[in-house]
């Protein structure tokens, strides 16, 4: 049977290698994860009172002084994170579009055999996490959308924010999505960076579950403590 007339819509030659894009994703993801570990530890200082929490916030702004002037450390962290978020997002969108082009017409019937909920929600979950990050900065860092405004201490903004149940629920959903993102992300990054094998597979998956759960619980502790009046 001749197929020479078959319509082969050959997509644009991928400018960047798809595996390279995945590596960008994995490395930027790991940078963000490292930051999140530090972040959750900082958050838990809210349990030792306003002073401890605020002084941590002050510390991160002045650490390295006087060798590093002003808020150098803080800005270095911010820039590294911004680059990581942009790179991660760029790679995600680009692979998403590649996948769409790769199967323009779907199946009438498709039954998932092995995929997890976490792996299916990476993309839209990621978008929600991204939206959350923007809101989160406007709320607690700049105070733009916070009831206490900018002219307040970080602790005041924290309490004002999470006394609102809607804010706490949005926060909780986002953090749980983040946990799922990392559940699949940690396994996926191990594969992407070529560090997985048959023997390690179980360990990596188990670690991903434990780590993602611990991080999610860590992030949920403070807001729910505020909501239920344990922190005020």
């Amino acid at each position: 049977m001749t197929v020479e007339h078959a319509q082969r819509r050959t997509p644009k030659v991928a400018k960047t290698n798809s595996v390279f894009k995945k590596a960008v994703m994995a490395i930027s993801g790991i940078i963000m994860v490292l930051y999140l570990i530090a972040h959750v530890i900082g958050n838990l200082k809210a349990f030792s009172g306003a002073e401890s929490f605020n002084s941590y916030s002050g510390w991160i702004r002045t650490v390295g002084n006087p060798a590093l002037p002003g808020q150098t450390t803080l800005w270095v962290i911010r820039i590294v994170l911004l680059v990581a978020v942009v790179a991660h997002f760029w790679a995600a969108v680009s692979l998403w579009r590649q996948a769409k082009r790769a199967r323009p017409q779907g199946y009438v019937t498709k039954k998932p055999t092995a995929q997890s909920y976490a792996s299916r929600t990476m993309r839209w979950g990621g978008v929600i996490i991204g939206a959350f990050i923007i809101y989160h900065i406007l709320d607690l860092t700049t105070g733009t959308v916070n009831a206490e405004g900018f002219d307040s201490t970080p602790y005041e903004r924290l309490v004002a924010s999470f006394q609102n149940p809607f804010v706490t629920i949005f926060y909780a959903i986002s953090v749980i999505l983040l946990g799922m993102h990392l559940r699949h992300g940690i396994w996926s990054a191990t594969q992407t960076l070529g560090q997985s094998n048959r023997r390690r597979e179980k360990t990596v998956s188990a670690f991903a579950v434990v780590f993602a759960t611990a991080l999610t619980i860590g992030f949920l502790l403070v807001p729910f403590s505020v909501l239920f009046g344990l922190i005020d």
């Binding site: 078959a6 819509r9 996948a99 082009r101 017409q105 792996s119 594969q191």
Partner: protein, 265 residues
Amino acid sequence: MRSSVGNPAAEKRGMNLTLRIWRQQGPTVKGKMVTYKITDISPDMSFLEMLDVLNEQLILQGDDPVAFDHDCREGICGMCGVMINGQAHGPQQTTTCQLHMRSFADGDTIDIEPWRATAFPIIKDLAVDRRAFDRIIQAGGYISVPTGTAPEAHATPVPKADSDAAFDAATCIGCGACVAACPNASSMLFTAAKVTHLGLLPQGQPERNDRVVNMVAQQDREGFGGCTNIGECSASCPKGISMETISRLNHDLLGALRAGARPKS
């Protein structure tokens, strides 16, 4: 063995099935699902034999038989892949030709569709053009060796674990189920199987870096999606090619890029 023939209690009547099959006249025309009734199918028939019965019926009725690919009918050529009730090669982890009707129940409705991927254009009905796989192999899935007398086997020892893993990877039959099942329509498992097979053996070393960059570049060029390690491929692969091969491909690719290997354009 006692035969059930002549024993009315044990003798099973054939199965009656409803088939919904993707019919498409050619590559550029629109297709649709068409429903067929089929009766008295033996549970011992293979899935392809069941389709043969349907086609005989269609031919007798003067209809166009359903086009589907097949060759060896013994699970080794990789031609026969179709989507059955939303699963590549159907409910068992085997090839469509090795799937038997006993995997279905009397009265079932079975949806049969072609592989769906830009890189696997439909030729007709259930038959797709999988030559994109050939081009990925041509891009690097080989070793260049001088021909002549067979070399002395003991001259190049291979550790047992490596030769076993290489052999496991070499069992890929290029059926395309991995692409069909993958939510990204990625050919990563197929490519990774070949990269693993050759990369584990001494004979594969000279071309190892070029092989991986060129094969990955070719699969991108063919229009396959990128891998996100979901695992549908390995779970649908009739040969059980493991996810480990994908990690190995990634490892080789990143190493090759660092070493300065670049794809031929």
